[in-house]
C-alpha cells in the first residue's frame, strides 16, 4: 500500500515534471526571430537585407541575415516564402534563393542554379514553385521553376507567358499573375499540378497581387498601364470565379489612377493609391473615396494583421521607414528604421 502510494506519488510527480518540461518545450523560442515581423528590403547599391521587429514592436534589428551568416544576400531581394521551419529568400538579380531556418536565420543552403530572375515562390508539399522572368532581354523564355525542397535542386520548369509575378496555390492549381516584367502583360496563368497544363485567363493590364478568398474566388489587383507606356489602360480590382475561370466582379479605377499594393484580411480589401490606403468590404461593389491612412514617403509595402496596418516607406539610398497604425484609431503606434529598399512584410 505504502509502496503503491509512493509509486502513485512518483508517477504524479513525474507526470507533473514531464508536463512541465513539455510546457517548457512549447515556450522555448525556436530562435531569436520567432514571434515577430520580418521585413525584406530589396537593396540597391547596398545589400538586400531582412529586418526583424518583435511582436510588441519594441525590438528592431536590421541586417539579420548578414549578422547570422556573415555574408550578404546580393540585390534585389524580391520576396520570401515560408514552410514550417524554413524561409526561402528570393533574390532576383543574383538568380538565387537563400534557404534559412526561419527562426534563427542560419543559412541552410543557397540555390544558385536553374533560376533566372526569380520573383515569387509558393510551397506545395515538398516542392517550391518559383516564378522566373528568364532573361530580361527575352519575353518568351519565362518559366516556373519547380524546386525539390529536400535537395534544393530545380527539378524541372514549366514555360509560361511574359513576366510571371505572384504565385498562389489553390485546390491543386497554381495561379500566377503576369505583370509583364519590363513590359506589360494582362494574363493569369492557371497551372494544373497534375499534368503541368497551363491555361490563361485574361484580366486588366499589370496584374500583381492575387488572393483566393473564402468564396473560392481569385481577387486580383490590375495596376493598368501607366501613361508613359503610351498605351494607358484603366486599373481595376477584379474577382474570378475559380470554378468557371470567369470574371465575376470588376471595380475600375479612374483614368490615370494606378494602384500598386493590395492586401486581403478578414474580408476587407486594403489597397494603395498615390500613397494613400483605402479599405473596402470584400463584397463592396464600388471603390472607396476616403483614405484610412496616408503615407508621408514612398509607400512600397503594406500588410494588415490584428487591427494593425504596417506600411513601408521605402528609401533606396538609405534605411526605409516602417510605420505601424492602429486600424481602429488610425493612430500611428510605431515608427522604425528598417531594411534599405523595404518592400515586403511577413509575420513569423
Amino acid at each position: 500500500m505504502k509502496i503503491n502510494k509512493l509509486l502513485t506519488v512518483l508517477f504524479l510527480i513525474s507526470v507533473f515534471f514531464m508536463s512541465c518540461s513539455n510546457d517548457d518545450d512549447a515556450s522555448t523560442p525556436r530562435g531569436d526571430y520567432e514571434n515577430g515581423i520580418l521585413i525584406s528590403g530589396e537593396g540597391s547599391g547596398s545589400t538586400a537585407s531582412v529586418s526583424f521587429v518583435s511582436q510588441d514592436l519594441s525590438i528592431v534589428e536590421n541586417l539579420i541575415y548578414k549578422k547570422v551568416n556573415n555574408s550578404e544576400l546580393g540585390t534585389f531581394l524580391q520576396s520570401m516564402a515560408f514552410d514550417g521551419s524554413r524561409a526561402f529568400i528570393v533574390v532576383d538579380n543574383a538568380n538565387s534563393i537563400s534557404v534559412v531556418n526561419r527562426y534563427t536565420f542560419e543559412n541552410l543552403s543557397t540555390i544558385t542554379t536553374g533560376l533566372l530572375t526569380p520573383r515569387y515562390m509558393t510551397i506545395v508539399g515538398n516542392k517550391g514553385y518559383v516564378t522566373n522572368w528568364g532573361s530580361t532581354a527575352d519575353e518568351t523564355d519565362d518559366f516556373i521553376a519547380i524546386v525539390d525542397l529536400s535537395t534544393y535542386a530545380v527539378e524541372r520548369t514549366i514555360p509560361v507567358g511574359n513576366g510571371p509575378e505572384r504565385i498562389v496555390e489553390n485546390n491543386g492549381k497554381l495561379y500566377v499573375s503576369h505583370k509583364g516584367a519590363f513590359s506589360t502583360n494582362n494574363i493569369i496563368s492557371v497551372v494544373d499540378l497534375v499534368d503541368d497544363k497551363v491555361e490563361t485567363i485574361t484580366v486588366g493590364f499589370k496584374p500583381d497581387e492575387i488572393f483566393v478568398n473564402n468564396q473560392n474566388e481569385l481577387v486580383v489587383l490590375c495596376g493598368g498601364n501607366e501613361a508613359w507606356t503610351m498605351d494607358e489602360t484603366i486599373a481595376s480590382i477584379v474577382k474570378i470565379n475559380l470554378s468557371t475561370n470567369l470574371e465575376t466582379v470588376s471595380l475600375p479605377f479612374a483614368t490615370g489612377e494606378h494602384p500598386t499594393l493590395m492586401v486581403l484580411d478578414n474580408d476587407v480589401l486594403y489597397y494603395e493609391l498615390n500613397g494613400k490606403v483605402y479599405a473596402i468590404n470584400e463584397n463592396a461593389t464600388a471603390l472607396s473615396s476616403t483614405a484610412i491612412v496616408e503615407s508621408q514617403g514612398f509607400l512600397y509595402g503594406m500588410e494588415v494583421k490584428n487591427d494593425r496596418i504596417y506600411l513601408l516607406d521605402a528609401n533606396f539610398s538609405d534605411l526605409s521607414e516602417l510605420n505601424v497604425y492602429n486600424l481602429q484609431t488610425k493612430e500611428k503606434i510605431k515608427m522604425a528604421s528598417v531594411a534599405l529598399g523595404a518592400s515586403k512584410i511577413y509575420f513569423n
Partner: protein, 622 residues
C-alpha cells in the same frame, strides 16, 4: 580572333621598324600642345601632368592609372567594370574629361566611363583640380582631366617608333605602337593600341571567379600638323575607339551576370592657327560621334543603345600687349548636338557661348587672370559664369595661388527626356567654389598644399515621387545643396647621389562632402585618400613601389555604420631593366606585381578586386 588581332598589331609594329632611316641626333624641337587654354589659363590652379613614361607603366586601365597617380576617387564596379570618378567629393557628372581641349563627357549621362577609354596613346594627361566651366563647359566642377596629343616638329627629318607590349595574369595582353615622323615643317603621329583580358581573377576566400568580366578594345589615333607659312599652321587630331566588355557579377552569385557593353567613339578636330605679331587667331572645327550598345543578355542579340553626334566650331582670338605681359583672349563657341537612345527620339541641342579672358603678369612675381562666360542653350538657361585666378611668388621657393569660380553641370538627355521619367523643368546644377594653395619648390622638393571649398546647389537627384503628378515614378529633380571642403596635398621629391636616383611622389586628399540639410557625408566619398609612388634607379635597374590607401566610404545617406565599404591599402611593386640605351634606341623589360600583399578588398560592396597578379612588359623605342 582576339589573339590574331593582337599578334597582327605587334607584327605590323615590328615591320614598321624597318622604315626608320634617319639618324636621330640631339635635335632642336618644338612641341605643339593641343590645348592652349590649359597651359595659358590655369593661373592659380593646380595642374599635375602624368608623362608618357607614367602612362606606359600603367597601361591596364585609365582607372588604375589615375587611382595611383591623382587625388581622384574611383567607384569601380569590379576591376575593368563600369568606373566613375569623384573629384573633391563631387558626383560622377562633375568631373569633365577633356580631349585636346574638347569636353567629351557623354551627352546621355553626363559622365565619362573610366574603363571605356584607353589613354596610353596620349602623350600626356593633365589633371587640373578645381572649377573650369569657363574653359570647358558643363561638368567641370570637381576638376578636369585632360587627354593631350603633343605634336613635335624637329629641325631635321626624324622618325620615332615605340612599342609597348605586356602580358599579365588572367590572360591580359596590352599592346601599343606609336609612330612619329617629323621635320621642321610637318609632323605626323600614329598610334595603335589593343588590349584584351579574360579578367577572370579569383574572388579571394570564395569559390568564385570574376566571371563575365572579359574585355577587349582597340584604339587608333592619328594626329598631324604642318606649317602653311611662317605664321600659320594646320593641325588635325583624330581618336577612334572600339571596345567590347562584359559586365561581371557580384557576390553571392557572380554567375548571374551575363550582360555585355560595346562602345564606339570617333573624335576629330581640325585646328587652324595664325599668329602674327600681337594677334593670334585660332579656328577649330570638330566632329565627335559616340555610341554605346548595352546587351542585357550576351546570348541575345537585342540591345539598348545611346548615340550622339556633335558638331562644333570655335573661333579664338588673342591679343597680347604690355611687352607680352598681358593678354586679352576671346573664345567663341558654337555647338550642335544630336543625341538619341533606344528610349529617346533624336533631340537636337544647340549651344552658343562666348568667353573673355584677361590675364596679366605684374613684375616677375604676380600673375592673375579674370574670366567670364555666357552661354545660350536651346534647352534651358545656363548661368553666367566667371572665374578669377592669381599666383604670387613670395620668395624664391614659395608661391601662393588662389582661384575662385562659378561653374555648372547641365541636365543630361536622360535627365530631360527619359520616357515617363524625364523632367523638362530641370535647371543646371551650379557651384560656387574657391581654393587657396601654397607651393614650395626647390630643386629637390615640390609641395603643393591647397584648401578648397565648393558649394553646389540645385543638384540633380533621381528620387521616387520626385514629381507629385507622377506618384511612385522615379524622376530627376533639382533637389539638394552640398558643401564640399577639404585639403589636397601633392608632394614630390627627387634626390640624386652619384648614380643612385631616388624619387617619390604622393597625393593626399581629405574631403568632407556634406549634404547641406543632413550634414552627412556623401555616399561613396572617402574622407581620406592617399597614393604614392617611390622609385629607385641605379644604372640600368630601377625599382618602384606604388600604393593606395582608400579610406572608408558610406553607402547610405544617413551614414549608417552597417552599410560601409571598409578602408583598404593596396600595394604594387615593379622592377625595370634597361637592356640597352643609346641615342637611337632603348629597350626596357619590366615586371610588375600588383596587389603584392594579396589584400582582399572591395571598392563596391560584393565585388572583390583582383588578388595578387603579375605583368611582364617590354618597352622598345627606336
Amino acid at each position: 580572333m582576339k589573339k590574331a588581332l593582337f599578334i597582327a598589331i605587334t607584327c605590323v609594329s615590328c615591320f614598321n621598324g624597318f622604315t626608320q632611316n634617319d639618324l636621330i641626333n640631339r635635335l632642336e624641337k618644338v612641341i605643339i600642345r593641343s590645348d592652349r587654354k590649359l597651359r595659358q589659363h590655369s593661373v592659380g590652379y593646380k595642374v599635375s601632368t602624368l608623362k608618357d613614361s607614367v602612362l606606359h607603366k600603367n597601361t591596364e586601365s585609365f582607372t588604375l592609372l589615375l587611382r595611383y597617380n591623382s587625388p581622384i576617387y574611383f567607384k569601380e564596379y569590379g576591376a575593368g567594370g563600369t568606373s566613375t570618378a569623384s573629384f573633391r567629393g563631387t558626383s560622377a557628372s562633375n568631373t569633365a574629361v577633356i580631349w585636346n581641349g574638347v569636353n567629351v563627357n557623354s551627352i546621355n549621362n553626363g559622365q565619362t566611363g573610366f574603363n571605356s577609354l584607353t589613354v596610353s596613346l596620349f602623350d600626356a594627361i593633365d589633371v587640373r583640380s578645381g572649377g573650369g566651366s569657363i574653359e570647358y563647359g558643363s561638368g567641370a566642377i570637381g576638376g578636369t582631366i585632360h587627354l593631350n596629343d603633343n605634336l613635335k616638329f624637329t629641325s631635321k627629318r626624324q622618325t620615332e617608333n615605340l612599342i609597348v607590349v605586356s602580358v599579365g595574369s588572367f590572360n591580359t595582353y596590352n599592346s601599343l605602337y606609336k609612330f612619329r615622323l617629323s621635320d621642321s615643317k610637318k609632323t605626323v603621329k600614329i598610334g595603335l593600341s589593343y588590349n584584351q583580358s579574360e579578367n577572370d581573377y579569383k574572388f579571394l576566400d570564395t569559390d568564385f571567379k570574376n566571371t563575365n568580366g572579359a574585355y577587349e578594345n582597340l584604339g587608333v589615333n592619328i594626329s598631324l600638323a604642318f606649317f602653311i607659312n611662317r605664321y600659320s599652321k594646320l593641325k588635325f587630331y583624330s581618336a577612334n575607339y572600339f571596345a567590347e566588355r562584359f559586365l561581371s557579377g557580384e557576390l553571392p552569385n557572380p554567375l548571374a551576370a551575363n550582360d555585355k557593353y560595346k562602345d564606339f567613339n570617333h573624335r576629330n578636330l581640325l585646328v587652324y592657327n595664325l599668329k602674327k605679331s600681337r594677334l593670334q587667331h585660332e579656328l577649330k572645327l570638330g566632329y565627335l560621334a559616340e555610341e554605346y550598345q548595352y546587351f542585357e543578355d550576351k546570348a541575345i542579340s537585342t540591345f539598348n543603345f545611346g548615340k550622339s553626334k556633335r558638331y562644333l566650331a570655335n573661333y579664338n582670338l588673342g591679343y597680347s600687349f604690355l611687352d607680352k605681359k598681358g593678354e586679352l583672349a576671346s573664345y567663341t563657341e558654337y555647338e550642335s548636338i544630336l543625341g538619341k537612345t533606344d528610349q529617346i527620339l533624336e533631340k537636337r541641342r544647340t549651344q552658343f557661348s562666348q568667353s573673355i579672358i584677361y590675364n596679366q603678369k605684374i613684375g616677375h612675381a604676380i600673375s592673375f587672370e579674370t574670366k567670364i562666360r555666357k552661354d545660350f542653350n536651346s534647352d534651358y538657361k545656363v548661368p553666367f559664369t566667371y572665374a578669377l585666378g592669381i599666383k604670387v611668388k613670395t620668395s624664391n621657393c614659395i608661391s601662393i595661388r588662389a582661384n575662385g569660380s562659378r561653374n555648372y553641370r547641365v541636365p543630361t538627355y536622360n535627365d530631360l527626356y527619359w520616357p515617363g521619367q524625364g523632367n523638362l523643368d530641370l535647371i543646371p546644377e551650379t557651384s560656387l567654389q574657391g581654393e587657396l594653395g601654397v607651393i614650395y619648390n626647390n630643386n629637390q622638393f615640390k609641395i603643393d598644399l591647397g584648401a578648397f571649398y565648393i558649394a553646389v546647389k540645385d543638384k540633380i537627384v533621381w528620387i521616387p515621387n520626385g514629381d507629385s503628378a507622377r506618384a511612385g515614378v522615379w524622376v530627376p529633380i533639382n533637389l539638394s545643396r552640398a558643401n564640399n571642403k577639404g585639403l589636397e596635398l601633392a608632394f614630390s621629391y627627387k634626390e640624386k647621389v652619384n648614380k643612385h636616383i631616388f624619387s617619390a611622389n604622393l597625393n593626399y586628399s581629405y574631403t568632407i562632402a556634406e549634404n547641406e540639410v543632413t550634414n552627412k557625408q556623401a555616399i561613396f566619398v572617402p574622407e581620406h585618400l592617399l597614393n604614392g609612388n617611390v622609385t629607385y634607379n641605379y644604372r640600368q635597374l630601377s625599382f618602384f613601389y606604388q600604393h593606395l590607401f582608400n579610406g572608408k566610404v558610406y553607402t547610405t545617406e544617413s551614414n549608417s555604420k552597417d552599410f560601409v565599404v571598409p578602408s583598404f591599402f593596396v600595394s604594387n611593386v615593379g622592377v625595370d631593366y634597361k637592356l640597352f640605351k643609346n641615342t637611337k634606341t632603348q629597350f626596357n623589360i619590366g615586371l610588375k606585381v600588383n596587389n603584392v600583399f594579396n589584400e582582399n578588398y572591395v571598392v563596391i560592396p560584393r565585388r572583390p578586386m583582383p588578388n595578387r597578379n603579375f605583368n611582364l612588359n617590354i618597352n622598345y623605342k627606336f
